[in-house]
């Protein structure tokens, strides 16, 4: 299968794109609605952007921001950044402007693509100041930065020279919620990205005939599948516009029109597709494989979806963004899955895993422990952190006596006697809401910084369609009591939308456990019965 496989250790993403453009230049690389680019066109267009970026002063290792929706132009910009030797930093347009500004500041982004985004949003980010020197896109002129229209940036000279990008160079930084209030930047290199892309292309047997749905936004690590596994197989990535992905019936039609063969997304969207997508009115015969990950898929709903699409293979994919993918479970086709939950299966060939019990020993079958992963697909480090940070990585001796670096996932795992791996929870208070990673400690910390809040608790409650939602309760400080709306508005200025509680209850006291800790489970129960 891996016909493009030639020493990913020394290869870069730009050299992959050029290799495919040389051999299969007229093949479709990316499509979105009625627009499309072949590999030859993608290579040429990204060269022109790379030349412009170089002229703007972008050098190897520089971080360049992508603050725009996922269009053909965005992917041309992304490959242009990589070709110029830069690392792209995808930024969720739904993040509050203060958080966007904090990310730009943190990784010293001087050039930012913001083409097609609402100018009001861009303006709000720039009001925070920061390192931006050049804005590529449509935006008001301002003090201290220049605006380059996208058309000019896309019209650089076409020059075949690469910036000498090496496998260990930074390729991209994905920011994720941490417990401290500062988003953590996950640093991936060309090598980790390509090792993942190759392994995923092999595991799912991707070939030139495949049309991979590009649903995940760029700031979500699932996107590296359609971005990089597609070119590894000389396949096409069919971008699903963000707006379509938000409306299940539009998503279903888009998948049909694009004739997609492989879909990788979060259970939340698949459940929406099942319940609201009008699947009986679309033809998804071309789909051969559905991969889901990011959160557990309730088996009852998964069974309904599998019954609706009996010709399709389904796989549960597990792996924190820090390691890309590391385990998989292929569901038996044509049968109901009888257990209430779905295992995450087995480690894929790229990954070496350990389940480490609280005593530091390897867990026995059935015993719970933290999952440690070692893999070439692993991040280099967190941005601003060290490659040997002991709170992130564990150093172990391998059989040959060499020190091996494992990423400590913080995920609690167990392995059953049949050798199957199960995700059983978190070591900390990180949660997944619609596949997005959030930290309840961060929600509480930001609530507690509000002047009218004395104590805060955040927890998950179950919403419609099996969707988990964040909710919170506070004990106010002495004085005028805050109201729910005001507190939510305050939180929305600091947290990504999925982390903003649907309700904030103001209480006189909290239920406590025997050890005087806040009983968040009781609070969640109370919130649940209040809405029933």
């Amino acid at each position: 299968m891996s016909y493009e496989h030639n020493e990913p250790m020394t290869r870069s993403i730009p050299s992959l794109i050029h290799a495919v453009a040389d051999r299969h230049g007229d093949r479709l690389a990316i499509s979105r609605l009625d627009a499309a680019l072949t590999y030859a066109e993608l290579a040429a267009a990204s060269q022109r952007v790379a030349q412009s970026l170089t002229a703007l002063g972008v050098r190897r290792g520089d971080r360049v921001g992508l603050y725009q929706l996922q269009t053909l132009e965005t992917l041309v910009a992304l490959h242009g950044i990589l070709l110029a030797g830069g690392a792209y930093v995808p930024i969720d347009p739904q993040q509050p402007p203060a958080r966007v500004a904090a990310i730009l500041e943190r990784c010293d982004v001087r050039v930012l693509f913001s083409n097609g985004l609402a100018p009001a949003l861009v303006d709000k980010v720039l009001q925070h100041g920061g390192p931006i020197q050049t804005l590529i896109g449509s935006a008001p002129e301002g003090d201290g930065f220049q605006v380059v229209p996208w058309r000019s940036a896309a019209a650089g000279l076409s020059d075949r020279r690469l910036a000498g990008v090496k496998g260990e160079d930074l390729a991209y930084l994905i920011f994720t919620s941490g417990s401290t209030g500062l988003p953590k930047g996950i640093v991936h290199t060309h090598r980790s990205a390509l090792t993942y892309a190759q392994a995923a292309a092999d595991l799912y047997g991707l070939g030139p005939e495949d049309r991979i749905a590009g649903i995940a936004p760029l700031h979500f690590d699932q996107s590296t599948f359609h971005l990089f596994s597609a070119p590894v197989a000389a396949a096409a990535a069919c971008l699903v516009p963000e707006a379509h992905a938000r409306l299940p019936a539009s998503l279903a039609r888009c998948l049909e029109t694009d004739d997609v063969s492989v879909i990788y997304t979060v259970p939340y969207l698949l459940i929406q597709l099942l319940l609201r997508g009008g699947l009986d009115q679309v033809n998804l015969e071309r789909v051969r494989w559905v991969l889901f990950g990011g959160e557990p898929f309730p088996a009852a709903l998964l069974n309904r979806l599998m019954a609706r699409l009996p010709h399709v293979r389904f796989s549960n994919v597990y792996g924190p963004a820090e390691v890309n993918q590391c385990t998989y479970f292929h569901l038996p086709q044509g049968r109901r899955w009888s257990a209430a939950s779905v295992p995450v299966g087995q480690a894929w060939p790229e990954a070496e895993i350990r389940i480490v019990s609280e005593t530091g020993d390897l867990a026995e079958a059935g015993e719970r422990g933290e999952l440690w992963v070692r893999s070439e697909t692993m991040m280099q480090r967190y941005w601003g952190g060290a490659e040997d940070d002991p709170s992130v990585f564990a150093a172990c001796q391998d059989p040959a006596g060499n020190t091996a670096r494992f990423y400590r996932t913080g995920d609690r795992f167990s392995q059953d006697t049949a050798g199957r791996l199960w995700f059983v929870g978190r070591m900390d208070r990180q949660v997944k809401v619609r596949g997005q990673r959030l930290d309840l400690d961060e929600v509480e910390m930001i609530l507690q910084q509000h002047s009218q809040v004395n104590e805060a608790a955040a927890f998950l409650v179950a919403g419609q369609d099996n969707v988990s939602l964040v909710a919170a309760a506070v004990i106010p400080s002495p004085g005028p009591s805050p109201d729910c709306r005001e507190l939510r508005r305050y939180l929305a200025q600091h947290l990504p939308p999925a982390a903003v509680p649907q309700s904030v209850e103001v209480r006189d006291c909290f239920p406590r456990t025997g050890s005087d800790k806040i009983d968040r489970r009781a609070l969640a129960e109370a919130a649940k019965s209040a809405t029933e």
């Binding site: 347009p93 949003l121 707006a243 379509h244 938000r246 409306l247 929305a492 903003v500």
Partner: protein, 87 residues
């Protein structure tokens, strides 16, 4: 005719208030022809809540197959869709 125009305006105002206050929590203002979805203003859960609000406030039932971009692109388009539904 005049009455209908007023009804339309009120409805758009009601929709706008819900989107701005409930979904965007007052962080941004929205014009009737601002693109709600493609500009990234409203997420998928927001759309579900908006539909719940519309069904409750305007006494209509919206079938899932109607929840498509052509009917929900912006506040004007939603208003026109509701008019077609006889609202």
């Amino acid at each position: 005719m005049r009455r209908n125009e007023d009804a339309g305006l009120n409805r758009i105002d009601d929709l706008r208030e819900f989107v701005v206050e409930e979904l965007l929590l007052g962080t941004l203002d929205v014009a009737a022809d601002d693109d709600l979805l493609t500009s990234g203003l409203v997420d998928s859960l927001g759309i579900i809540r908006l539909i719940g609000f519309i069904e409750e406030s305007f006494q209509v039932s919206i079938p899932p197959e109607d929840v498509v971009l052509e009917n929900f692109l912006n506040l004007n388009v939603i208003d026109q869709y509701l008019s077609r539904r006889g609202g």
